[in-house]
Assembly symmetry: C2
Homo-oligomer: 366 residues x 2
Amino acid sequence: MLRSIAMSALKQLTIDGPFQMNRGELESPTFVYEAWGSLNPARDNAVLIFTGLSPSAHAASSKANPTTGWWEDMVGPGKPIDTSRYLVICVNSLGSCFGSTGPASINPATGSAYRLDFPVLTVEDIANGGKAVIAHLGIDRLHAVVGASMGGMTALAFAMLHPDHAAGLISISSACRSLPFSIALRSLQREMVRQDPVWCNGQYEFDKPPASGMRLARKLGMITYRSAQEWEQRFGRERATGDLAGPPPFGIDFEVESYLQAHAEKFVGSFDPNCYLYLSRAMDLFDVADHGGTLEKGMSRVKVERALIIGVETDILFPVRQQKELAELLKLHVADADFRALASIQGHDSFLVDMDRFRPAVASFF
Amino acid sequence: MLRSIAMSALKQLTIDGPFQMNRGELESPTFVYEAWGSLNPARDNAVLIFTGLSPSAHAASSKANPTTGWWEDMVGPGKPIDTSRYLVICVNSLGSCFGSTGPASINPATGSAYRLDFPVLTVEDIANGGKAVIAHLGIDRLHAVVGASMGGMTALAFAMLHPDHAAGLISISSACRSLPFSIALRSLQREMVRQDPVWCNGQYEFDKPPASGMRLARKLGMITYRSAQEWEQRFGRERATGDLAGPPPFGIDFEVESYLQAHAEKFVGSFDPNCYLYLSRAMDLFDVADHGGTLEKGMSRVKVERALIIGVETDILFPVRQQKELAELLKLHVADADFRALASIQGHDSFLVDMDRFRPAVASFF
């Protein structure tokens, strides 16, 4: 029982009834998505994109929304994920705050925002949200399910949970489970938000979010999303100038401090803190071994015909050895599984910025 | 004009008069140190150890203080830094809070703690504190100046500022300047402390320090001091049990979270937050190129006869390529400069824990 409402470029699906989650359920959640291109008569040319933690469904611009999308260089007519050949769909993750139901959404049972009453979120739940969207669109089998970072985990979860519904898989800078180094970093980021007195156990006023904690968390995120090498080339020991520069010894002195400050400010206020906490924890919890007892057994559920696994040598958050592990496990069951380690220096975020390396790598699949 | 007071194992030197710093001066500061072994008649067997950010001068146990020291496996009779052959001295850094004058010490001009009135601290100032101590002990030329992490920078600064006063240099997991990745991490750690409302612009009550900010900062420190590989082997995805384990989704769930919590708690309350801020910033500011305009010119001031540079392949804070750079610059002027890259998996902290690799490496110098 599904109903859909058109919202300019953003499309909306609201489930009529309960939506089962791994550790709870939601009443009538909404999933928003954007779509580019058209479904062919065989209905087998759809590509589903899952996002990282922070992006919306707006992966690329369109007539309905001409704003530059977060993967503008990758998605569009004639681009690697070619919207003149494929129906490309990007879903806003369950638990996020850009249209799909999340902790900042109204709980129909109470008439107030869920906040911390939102069920524990898992990557599998996000994948099932994507499944609901393609079912709604009448798509039985995707040409490919694609994602980077958290989206790569989600694409993998989709392929594992819905093996008959994806012919191909692209997982970028992702992992088949979170390891203690990245868990520690995300745990600390969440603690920064939770320790901000304004967070108030999740009961902050939406127009007065815990900005200080979110700023700290985002800065740590940015430090782990890029690489030491890139920053050495980009900033070196350059000193900050301009409005952000502050008095010694603890004011902003180095350009890298000014860069972090400026970028963190943009994030604060645009992303709901409780949503951030839930999505962050979902990544920690992800483990393919939860599906069968071992990584091997979990991965054996993936039945795609073709897979492409991409990792980046300078990624400290999802190190390239985790992509290699993922690829090797896939190769046990998927004849055509391609693994590419890219020499990008932009670390985990390379898929968003090093397009000269990423465009041909992704295009090779299509 | 120096006077010295014996304090069990800890010895104290108080300068009688002003002490010039790079960016200010202190009136009659105190330096504390410990010493093991004896000076030979030629007075040429002294080894001076500078510490990292957090340790005290208590590098090794002695009759006067039998507590295990922070480098117990390295310093002692028959150990790599052999106190039966050398007079080994370890100085508590200027700016620290374990006896030497720092932001938590009383400013004689006001009768209150310096707090943020303490002058901007630089690594060079800490090195000059060590110089004052050896001058006080009647030592003109050290057999070697030794340090790891911030202590390695300090040892290098000593060799650069006092070229006639050190015959040898050992720099471990250090660098000839801070780069933006480590500056960003430390800047963020300081911001965590400064954003804690209890910090109160440095005016907190000493018995009620900004524990929340310090806990966050220490956790980030620990994440950057070790390595992803070590934690993967040590914790994997093990779940926390016991008192620290908390309710989902944001309570402590993974063992690595519990480990960080337990260790951060130990640091909070034992280290003064303002001292932490000053020492942390001193590392950011360090740049050999400040001494002559370029790294090459700065390093050309070092006149030691022998040098040993050790780095660790898994160190993300002071990456091994920075030790290699340091060694290559030294080799331009020091005939006997040995560079060793160790395969320890414990990251930056390896010099404190991977003694099987570090003992022989350091022993090779002596």
